[in-house]
């Protein structure tokens, strides 16, 4: 069975709300427990906002894994990239004055967190949360 994918644009902060609502709905319909659906949707909110504000816009890809046993989200942007990833994941660190707990916090809300970024190359963050 081919996995279903949904694409959500992340151009303005308004798009972040649409994307996180889609993630919450997808997680609930896949049978995630209430708190787990909120964890994943909140991670999506943080990462989506990061793509809009820090990455100057991008998109989110939502993919169901193993018939809904897990959900994978990919956030891509063509922005300036994150020069120091380790530092960006430290709680309280913010380069824009608004993202202090965003990346590090989002990482704690998911089961797997991958980040690829380089100066001038944009950023791609992929996260997975399983239903348990």
């Amino acid at each position: 069975m081919p996995s279903e994918r949904e694409f959500w644009p992340l151009k303005a902060t308004r798009d972040v709300g649409d994307a996180r609502r889609a993630v919450h709905a997808a997680a609930r319909s896949a049978g995630f427990r209430s708190a787990d659906a909120v964890r994943l949707a909140t991670a999506a909110s943080e990462l989506g906002r990061n793509a809009v504000i820090h990455g100057k816009g991008g998109r989110m890809t939502l993919e169901r894994l193993d018939e809904g046993a897990g959900i994978r989200l990919e956030f891509r942007d063509e922005g300036p990239g994150i020069p120091d990833i380790e530092q960006a994941l430290v709680d309280g660190f913010s380069s824009t004055g608004s993202m202090g707990f965003g990346l590090g916090g989002a990482r704690r809300l998911v089961h797997s967190f991958q980040i690829e970024s380089g100066a001038g190359e944009g950023t791609r963050i992929t996260v997975v949360r399983w239903r348990r």
């Binding site: 308004r14 972040v16 709300g17 919450h24 708190a35 909120v38 993202m99």
Partner: protein
């Protein structure tokens, strides 16, 4: 025109019931509106009911913390009521414990808490 969250006045307090998922702009607008309403009215307290909110992220929790500090600066108190269990555990995992914000289970207890806080403050 930007949509706005309505602010009601009840027993000397401003009551805000958030029923929709708050987009960033709407949240910022609410903070401004509350500041203006506090300055305009004789109310010395704010109750923000978020029992309808499915999700609170770091952005919104910062706005909520700012509303609380702003109220104090204006000689008032704010109480956040009705946070859902799933939202509470997620915020704690995010590291956002909102230490400076008073909380209560529901609107009734929020009003009681507000009165207690106002009685304590000079």
């Amino acid at each position: 025109m930007t949509p706005r969250i309505p602010i009601l006045e009840l027993e000397g307090a401003l009551l805000v019931t958030v029923q929709v998922d708050l987009d960033d702009q709407l949240a910022v607008q609410l903070e401004e509106d509350l500041g203006a309403a506090l300055a305009r009215s004789s109310a010395r307290g704010i109750i923000i009911d978020i029992s309808g909110l499915e999700l609170v992220d770091t952005f919104l929790s910062r706005i909520l913390a700012q509303i609380a500090s702003m109220s104090r600066v204006l000689g008032a108190e704010a109480v956040l009521v009705g946070m859902r269990p799933a939202v509470a555990v997620t915020l704690v995992e995010l590291g956002m414990t909102l230490d400076g914000v008073s909380t209560a289970l529901d609107i009734d207890r929020g009003i009681a808490r507000l009165h207690a806080l106002l009685a304590e403050s000079p």
